[in-house]
């Protein structure tokens, strides 16, 4: 696992966490959207927080699909869950929100789980896989 791949996995977590947070902040400013007034969605996109949130989530999708091109799904998903930990840490140290003991336990479990999976190989080698698709499978 080289530096580039680690950066992509870090990007998955950072983009997911920051995108979700911005979208959530923006949508609280916009207010609830009713199914009968769908034009509200357009106003929601005009909110700068929502717009930046969407751009960041596109970044998430790009890094996520990139990671899936060279790593197993069961490797990428735990790595991307570090985003949850990032959100909790940002809430604690930048927004000075209270993070309960239960949440700290959740953070510890996710971090431990990611550490566990990161210690193993990123991709299952399929010896019988060579001819499939048009890809550059390694």
């Amino acid at each position: 696992m080289d530096l580039r791949k680690n950066l992509v996995l870090g990007g998955v977590a950072v983009f997911a966490a920051s995108g979700d947070s911005m979208l959530s902040h923006g949508m609280k400013q916009v207010g609830s959207i009713s199914i009968h007034h769908l034009q509200g969605v357009i106003f929601a996109i005009l909110n700068p927080w929502v717009a930046v949130g969407i751009i960041l989530l596109l970044g998430f999708f790009a890094t996520y699909t990139t990671a899936l091109s060279w790593a197993d799904l069961t490797y990428v998903l735990p790595a991307s869950s570090l985003g949850y930990v990032l959100v909790a840490l940002v809430a604690k140290f930048f927004l000075h929100e209270h993070v309960s003991a239960t949440r700290w336990m959740g953070i510890a479990l996710i971090t431990g789980g990611v550490g566990f999976v990161a210690g193993g190989p990123a991709l299952t080698q399929h010896p019988d896989h060579g001819g499939e698709g048009s890809g550059v499978q390694r």
């Binding site: 580039r4 791949k5 992509v8 699909t65 990139t66 899936l68 091109s69 060279w70 197993d72 799904l73 069961t74 490797y75 990428v76 998903l77 735990p78 869950s81 949850y84 909790a88 239960t102 949440r103 336990m105 959740g106 953070i107 510890a108 479990l109 996710i110 971090t111 431990g112 789980g113 990611v114 566990f116 999976v117 210690g119 193993g120 299952t124 399929h126 499939e132 698709g133 048009s134 890809g135 550059v136 499978q137 390694r138």
Partner: protein, 126 residues
């Protein structure tokens, strides 16, 4: 009755999101290492090969379905139940599906990791 609706929505979120992840992962393995492909053939080829893969569109569609099921679930049930239940069950569902359909080697290490992350997500959002 509301509980049945809520759990049906959670189940729908989990199934569609697992289908989306698995199909997308399969499609991206067919595309091949995006970084290598970009260096050798350029970004246009990467985008054309990715978007042109039917699995990619199907994966995105399944993820969109999952998103709307989540919205329905959130309108029926509490966010503190729906969001963590859907997220953590998706982790477990993905581990099972990746083993069956993608033939990933989900060894003890990965089972423990998936369970720890699932439990952690449930605690974090609870």
């Amino acid at each position: 009755m509301r509980t049945i609706y809520t759990w049906s929505a959670i189940l729908a979120v989990v199934i569609s999101s697992v289908v989306g992840d698995v199909v997308l992962a399969h499609a991206m393995k067919q595309v091949g290492d995006v970084g290598d492909l970009w260096r050798k053939k350029g970004l246009v080829v990467v985008i054309r090969r990715t978007v042109g893969n039917p699995g990619f569109s199907l994966g995105v569609l399944a993820m969109a379905v999952s998103f709307f099921c989540l919205l329905f679930g959130l309108s029926w049930g509490d966010v503190s139940l729906v969001a963590p239940a859907a997220a953590s069950l998706t982790f477990i569902g993905n581990a099972v599906a990746a083993r069956i359909f993608l033939h990933e080697r989900v060894d003890r290490r990965r089972w423990i990791a998936a369970s720890m992350v699932a439990a952690g997500v449930a605690l974090l959002a609870g």
